[in-house]
Point group: C2
Chain length 227, copies 2
DNA sequence: GAAATGGTTCGTCATGGAACGAACGATGGA
DNA sequence: TCCATCGTTCGTTCCATGACGAACCATTTC
């Protein structure tokens, strides 16, 4: 199909890469947890390893995902937080009016969005941090206040390496299930893995989404009050 | 292709609708100006009217666009500002690193994003309004200050009907060419059409994007200082 | 080294769907 | 009333590509 050259970003190429049921499902899977190996992505999309290889290669060429070898495994993750934002925007549109309330309860309650906490849990924590003056609002991001620095360190998050990452520090991410934004970026990811390390949340076995443990209930209440 | 039911939004359906070169181009065209008739969209994508009909129907079924009959014409527009946000997010990702600076100058400078001003012009105006205290920042939106209300009325924007619209009043839209956000929503659209009505900007004949007229240069400087 | 596992490559198949031209219904203007 | 224009419908063609199994490397484990 010949066509005059397009000004601006090459949407057609991107749309081609995104516009396949299996590939978008892969991106969706990568939104939930940090990174997955090829086999998990094949299984998760219900497709043979051979087919998965092709799709993953295509996604990688489109710079939507990145891979690293680990032994005989190949682990994939979203290429950039910007990609996560894009997928999030797609999800926001994909939630149809009448079906909007059909978003499964566990997903509304707590889930990963890329590498940070989302759903009502992520939102609640973010709101609490704002209320307590540990975060403040900036145009496109949150800012960590002095009291916030103390709080994070006391919570067990070593901030130095978090600041050293090349990605945005405290990004604001818009959630498709709640339509409000929550803490993302390097700081959001660090917070999420700390909460995970504390055993406050656990990955749900086969479904997507997270469950808050009873220790988590207590801990969250102690730190953030009623969420 | 049988597959277990997906939790959450139906991304596959959406991805299918978006993932075609012609259809994404149509969405792109609808981002620039308010609304277009079927023929313009056919011509703009280099496709026959028959083919265009099929694509437009598909996009409409996916609720990405909406149409109304006007005489023997059928005019299309993006269904919701949320869709515009999604396309914008796609564009942001589609801008490749090395090619980033290859974004054509006129598009960087001034263009429509859906129905409001974007590019450096939209950003500059937004910044000026913030600096002058006519807008203030909220979490997901801008807020119009009391002085801002006066300013808009003096500028010739009747705010009452703008507030009555069902869409968000002063949304923050992230720009793919500048990677910063600018005034959108009902207020952004009203401002854009006022600026257009004043003859300060004109649609570029065949390219995309806008040009600032000499009257516009003067008017913008007078109201906003150096942009 | 052999066996097991993860991933890739290759060849093939089948299907979806994108495109067109032609014929048709509808609307508006002369 | 008649013509021009706009859009839709239909039938057809044809190509892209998504899927698989089998064979093939590479790495770890025993």
């Amino acid at each position: 199909m010949e066509r005059t050259m397009d000004a601006g970003p090459d949407l057609a190429a991107l749309a081609g890469a995104v516009g396949d049921a299996t590939r978008i499902r892969m991106l969706e899977l990568l939104m939930e947890g940090r990174s997955l190996v090829a086999k998990e992505l094949a299984f998760g999309t219900g497709v043979s390893p051979a087919t998965a290889t092709v799709h993953l290669k295509r996604l990688e060429q489109a710079r939507l995902i990145r891979s690293t070898r680990q032994g005989r495994n190949k682990v994939f993750r979203l290429a950039t937080p910007t990609v996560a934002r894009m997928v999030e925007a797609l999800m926001t549109v994909a939630v149809r009016g009448p079906r909007a309330s059909a978003t499964p309860e566990p997903l509304r309650a707590a889930r990963y969005c890329y590498d940070h906490l989302a759903g009502r849990l992520g939102m609640g924590i973010t709101d609490a941090l704002l209320r307590q003056g540990h975060l403040s609002l900036r145009r496109r991001a949150f800012a960590l206040t002095p009291s916030g620095e103390d709080w994070f360190e006391a919570f067990g998050v070593d901030l130095a390496p978090v600041r050293d990452q090349r990605r945005q520090f405290a990004h604001r991410c818009l959630d498709w299930s709640e339509r409000r934004d929550h803490l993302a970026g390097a700081l959001g990811a660090a917070l999420a893995s700390r909460v995970f390390a504390l055993g406050w949340v656990e990955r749900q076995p086969d479904s997507r989404g997270l469950v808050v443990t009873s220790a988590g209930q207590r801990g969250l209440r102690r730190h953030f009050g009623a969420l």
